[in-house]
Amino acid sequence: MMETSVELEEQIKRWRSYVARKQAISASDVDELEDHLREQVVDLRGIGLDDGEAFLVAITRLGNVDAVSREYARVHANRLWKQLALVPEGDDETVRNGTARRELAVALVAAVGAGLAVRVGMSLVGDGMRLALSLGLLVFPFVAAYLGWKRRLTSRPAVAMVALYIALAVALWVYPFSPNGVIGLLAALHAPVVLWLLVGIAYVGGQWRSDSRRMDFVRFTGELAVYYALLGLGGGVLLGLTAGALSLVGIDFGPWLVNWVLPFAMPGALVVAAWLVEAKQNVVENIAPVLTRVFTPLTTVMLVVLLIVLAAAGGVIDVDRQVLILMDAILVLVLSLLLYSISARDTTAPPGLFDGLQLVLVVASLAVDAVMLAAMLTRIAEFGWSANKVAALGLNILLLVHLVGIAWLTTSFLRSRRPFAALERWQTRYLPLYGLWAAVVVVAFGPVFGFA
């Protein structure tokens, strides 16, 4: 073997990174081609060429990279589809040092642990209010442990996370929530929001001040929702078929399902979904922009129809509480959609038609929110304050400020006054407020409004 010069190594490195960008050519294929290239260079130098000449002749003989890549694509057509490999196979680096398998093992242990915790929790506290208040607390440690392990969470953020978790757990467990009370229900609804924010601490590996890490957590959440829905659909079909088949022989699958299958499957699927998102992030990233492009116009249409119906019904003063809560849910959905599409957007792309569409969606949801706020204030003026109304109003004001900010920043972005990053930063800075508000509802509402 002849010595190869630094310059030649540099050229080969550049060539490698160029070839590696071709999707049809895998990393080990590049290794194989590089071996060929190097052998060829050595032979060519043997007949008197210098490094530069030998390299040039060798890559020329190797052929046009596009044409070769097309040949690879014909053999490995599947490579053009990004494959979601559960555990990467072959000669991937993570396989050789065993990381991939270890991660799968950790995730599976965490999934089973979460299922066990919920099952044990069920048999200890029954299935009433206590369980509703505890569900999040039972599942959280396993999701957080998996992500914290994955991110090698350092001790300081870990301690902060655990301390906040314990504080929340104490509030949820010590407060004497009445079994059928509103306050308990509100706490049970808001606790998961706080817990999810704590999961965020584990996810960002303690760098909770970083805007881009927070945005990653938003992406993670969106992708997790998609994976969880997919797992849920698949699991639902499977369970439905099982129940159908068992009913043919006269076995009632219902109690089994409720007592054993779901307590394990639902929390377990959450951990598995988290692992799936981690295992291959770019698969869903491809679908996120498409999903948001499909659902942004559809949601706008829905909101406009809603406004028309509300107007035709002659005001919303008389609508009952359920409608208001439902509307809050719709706005949360709209915001999730906006967040999802903002997180999936290329920050550097210039303003386009879709950004305009998004602004229409924001304006429509602001209109709906204005109607709702008016209705809610009327109710409060008429019937006075209650915990329910304060919770709904607080969430509504949070949503309103958030949406106004988005509308304002989207407009400036469309008029090229501000970069898209400003809009992104607004999301990442604002989101923790939801957690704070949820924490207020969980911790302060009981003492303020009583635990009835």
Binding site: M1, D31, D35, H36, G63, E71
Partner: protein
């Protein structure tokens, strides 16, 4: 000499399988052997050899394994499988027929082994 693409495509499989039937080799060595056998007259784009090898592997005619070169780089070695040998035997027969027919076409008519009776 540059060869017609279709001819390369048709001849590459038996050529590669034939070379591998003499012993296991890695990509560049197969390439060199082809040059040697054709005395350097048969040249194709080097990069195309690998998709071909992968196709043969996918069809089960060859198997591959990763090893290390004398310089310590990762190197993929290919070996012919038994179904590869069967295909090679098949192709051998077919090519013999083609080569025979072609040889007769290349020869001037009066020296053909079997005169075209009835046409004279």
């Amino acid at each position: 000499m540059r060869f017609d693409k279709d001819l390369v495509a048709a001849s590459a499989t038996p050529l590669v399988l034939g070379i591998l039937s003499e012993g296991d080799l890695y990509g560049y060595a197969i390439h060199k052997r082809i040059e040697e056998l054709s005395a350097g007259r048969m040249q194709w784009t080097d990069g195309m050899l690998y998709p071909l090898l992968h196709r043969l592997e996918r069809l089960g005619y060859v198997s591959s394994s990763w090893g290390t070169s004398e310089a310590g780089r990762r190197r993929k070695h290919y070996a012919i499988t038994s179904s590869g040998r069967a295909v090679l035997a098949d192709r051998h027969e077919q090519w013999t027929v083609v080569a025979d027919a072609l040889r007769q076409v290349w020869q001037p008519p009066e020296r053909r082994a079997t005169p075209l009776a009835g046409w004279a």
